[in-house]
Point group: none
Chain length 211, copies 2
Amino acid sequence: MAPAASTRWSPTPEQLMILEEMYRGGVRTPNATQIQQITTHLSFYGKIEGKNVFYWFQNHKARERQKLRRKLSKQLQQQQQQLFHRHQMQQNNHLVHFFDSSVSPGLSFYSPNTGFLPQLVGILDQDGQTKVMNYTWNKVDVPEKGGMMDKSMMSMYGSDWLMMMDVSPPLSPCCKRPPPKTLELFPVSASNLKEECKLQEAPTQQNPCSV
Amino acid sequence: MAPAASTRWSPTPEQLMILEEMYRGGVRTPNATQIQQITTHLSFYGKIEGKNVFYWFQNHKARERQKLRRKLSKQLQQQQQQLFHRHQMQQNNHLVHFFDSSVSPGLSFYSPNTGFLPQLVGILDQDGQTKVMNYTWNKVDVPEKGGMMDKSMMSMYGSDWLMMMDVSPPLSPCCKRPPPKTLELFPVSASNLKEECKLQEAPTQQNPCSV
DNA sequence: GCAAATTAATGATTTATTCAAG
DNA sequence: CTTGAATAAATCATTAATTTGC
């Protein structure tokens, strides 16, 4: 009956040791050349092929990540709950910390020299319409009409804005802050958080500021 | 004088994790409202301002791109050099495993079913020439008659593989002890790989099979 | 002790994402 | 918008640990 050779590679202790040491040393995704070298080196300790080395790093990396994530996730959850409590308690002055206006009363927290944006923020081009959202770090709720931001950046924000879903009330005239209260913070993150965080079955994140 | 407090925001692990998760979840350029919400949320974990969130996404996005670009660039360079090298050296017989023809006669790298590529491997366009190399992990040296592993087929990851081929002598018949002797190379571990490829520089990877 | 039975690890494949070039 | 290139995540599958009954 055929060789019945084992169907899969099984690292010898020496090989494993070396691989782990490399990993510890920083090797994560060796390229082909490196894999080849590693393979050559390890073959001294036993049968091995390049793909084994490749897979080993892939798997090891992934599993380390996974391990870490699980750990973090767990502790994060604990903290979130803790904080949630705290949050409920002091549900009053949430929004206060938004840029302490004490820093730059007017706006522009950036030096004029750098030529960087001061306070505006978004632009959305869609359906031929261009919406420009104005936002200043200082005070969220002061629309700040003056149109000083004519060009500057914004350019880089292409389609990404699409996903912004305008959670916020579309530029109401003197709009104010949407979330009167109860904010269910965290409507932003998309669908990730699979696995690991399955624990809490996030109810449904939707329409945040129902206003 | 004054507070002398640290001059810049430094994310706490929780904040960072959340931000990264959002990023993975698709958030790239949050709008003002989103930033506001994120900030509020993150402020539970430590001091933070809207601008920090804004900048974080800006930077993260940019750096991810940059990282990728650098990586690609580097890889490409190495590959090209490698291949070029190999090509020159082994005009001989090393190339045995070059295209098994048994798999996909023509070329069409896609397996009809999975829609994934089977075992082909590399393609290099240089000097106006395009080479396509085929390589499969399944036994490099033994064509593998009986086939328990006719399906599987490595769907290996692209470009990395193309240099895997024949770096080593096609493995001796049975006990492949590839002692090319001396070849103690081992530049892989630790240190390097630490990024910063200083492109344009990669003079020569110590050529592996200098033989 | 020592295998069959069961479970935990982990090697190998497949599927989903991601960025960005076309 | 589509697609190429590369990967990381998810999943499948087999091997090694271990538990268990004798």
